[in-house]
């Protein structure tokens, strides 16, 4: 159960501190179009970071429990660290307009498996306008891929322009689908200014490194404020 012990009007209607006064887990959202590599990124992040960090995952599958089951099958985390949330056919509603079920899932994970360092919330694959509410996550990653067209960064939309990190995944496919990575980088820069962009291929060894490093920085910053 959620109790706002320490703040009368918290900026978010979920607590920032644990009962012992330390900061709760950093909550990071991963959004982006269907099939861009969100689950693959979550799995790779867990595999890379789980020795140093205590991690849990919330998935928002559109229809099935595929994402949760993929993570289980690949044994990136024990089952009790993964919660699947239903979205009533509206994945963007569940991460933006009505975050109730997701908030409850992250709080429940902290209560039952905590203390945790990091909770990753994967959105169901959606469109370019779907972003996370700041009431649910502390930072968000938007994952697109080179194979869906190299004009996506140019098209923009809130995920592309405002996400704390833009990941352009599947760079290994660029030569095969004729995507111009330099143009994508230029367009992303034009849309995002100084906000970071990471080009990844999760097929390459340690391909998730740029994202893992970014998460590490965010976590350090999160803890520094406590």
């Amino acid at each position: 159960m959620h109790l706002d012990h320490r703040e009368t009007y918290p900026p978010r209607h979920t607590s920032r501190l644990r009962d012992d006064g330390t900061r709760r887990a950093l909550r990071v959202g991963l959004g982006g179009p269907v099939g861009s590599g969100k689950t693959a990124t979550v799995a790779a992040l867990c595999a890379t970071l789980r020795d140093r960090l205590s991690i849990a995952v919330v998935t928002n599958d559109i229809y099935t429990r595929e994402d949760a089951e993929f993570l289980l099958r690949n044994a990136v985390l024990p089952a009790e660290r993964i919660t699947a949330v239903e979205t009533g056919a509206c994945p963007h509603t569940a991460i933006r307009d009505d975050i109730s079920a997701n908030l409850e899932a992250v709080e429940e994970l902290e209560r039952t498996t905590g203390p945790l360092d990091l909770i990753l919330v994967e959105s169901g694959g959606d469109n370019l306008t779907a972003t996370f509410s700041s009431g649910l996550v502390d930072a968000q990653i938007f994952v697109i891929d080179v194979a869906a067209g190299d004009d996506i960064p140019r098209k923009g939309g809130p995920g592309i322009t405002a996400a704390d990190l833009l990941v352009v995944n599947k760079t290994d496919l660029a030569p095969h689908v004729g995507s111009d990575l330099e143009a994508m980088a230029r367009d992303a820069k034009a849309q995002r200014g100084d906000l970071p962009v990471a080009f990844t291929s999760l097929r390459a060894p340690d391909g998730v490194r740029p994202v893992a490093d970014w998460v590490g920085e965010r976590l350090a910053a999160w803890r520094a404020v406590a």
Partner: protein, 225 residues
């Protein structure tokens, strides 16, 4: 008393988690019981006069404040034979409590959060939220009754691609029934103040309970209930 607060509380956009629940409509669509506007209307009428009436009376009683929330929650448990629906009702109750505390801060709501960490049935919380918003028991009953048909209707639009104008017309034609159910529920809540929770209606729809159990066991579904 403020009509605007009732509009806010009953609005499908009120962020309390209901959007991910179909009120049994997903299972009814899958079983071929809801196929279009007529069958949706029949489903909604049935749900309104059974589970809807029971929920409306609990909400009215909670709003009236004569019976403690814990006793109303026990009454709700006794009227909800499906374990899946009991779990859903408490989950939605916890989510509504968060939204209500943020929207209409009140010591009473804080006390409920403190005393019932597992959550209370959603209709009970709905009544308490209505009370915190300055609404009357009949308002709470009406909101609960409206929700009992609004949820399945919205879900059916998404599940069947039903024409949204037809779906909205279904709800509009139930307006008289909604008012009657709210009246009955309010009278029952009055009774409960004197005679206890046994005075509350225990109308139920066994098929809704059975279907909810089947739905909860499905590995593939769009809605949480």
């Amino acid at each position: 008393m403020t009509a605007a607060a009732l509009l806010l509380l009953a609005d499908g956009r009120f962020p309390a988690g209901a959007h991910a629940h179909s009120g049994g409509a997903e299972e009814a669509v899958r079983a071929g019981r809801i196929t279009g506007p007529e069958t949706l209307a029949a489903f909604c009428r049935g749900r309104l006069h059974t589970a809807g009436l029971t929920a409306a009376a609990l909400a009215a009683a909670a709003c009236a404040g004569a019976v403690p929330p814990g006793a109303l929650d026990a009454a709700a448990d006794a009227r909800t034979p499906s374990p899946a629906l009991r779990a859903t009702a408490r989950r939605l109750g916890r989510q509504l409590l968060r939204a209500a505390r943020a929207t209409w801060p009140a010591p009473e709501l804080d006390a409920v959060a403190r005393d019932h960490p597992g959550g209370l049935h959603q209709p009970v919380v709905l009544g308490l939220a209505a009370r915190a918003a300055g609404l009357a028991p009949r308002d709470a009953a009406l909101a609960a009754a409206y929700e009992s048909v609004g949820g399945p209707t919205t879900a059916t639009v998404r599940l069947l691609g039903l024409d949204p104008f037809d779906a909205t017309a279904v709800t509009a034609r139930l307006a008289g029934d909604l008012d009657r159910v709210a009246d009955l529920a309010t009278a029952a809540a009055d009774d409960a103040a004197a005679r206890g929770t046994d005075a509350l209606p225990a109308a139920s729809a066994p098929l809704l309970d059975i279907a909810a159990e089947a739905h909860a066991a499905r590995p593939v579904r769009l809605f949480a209930s």
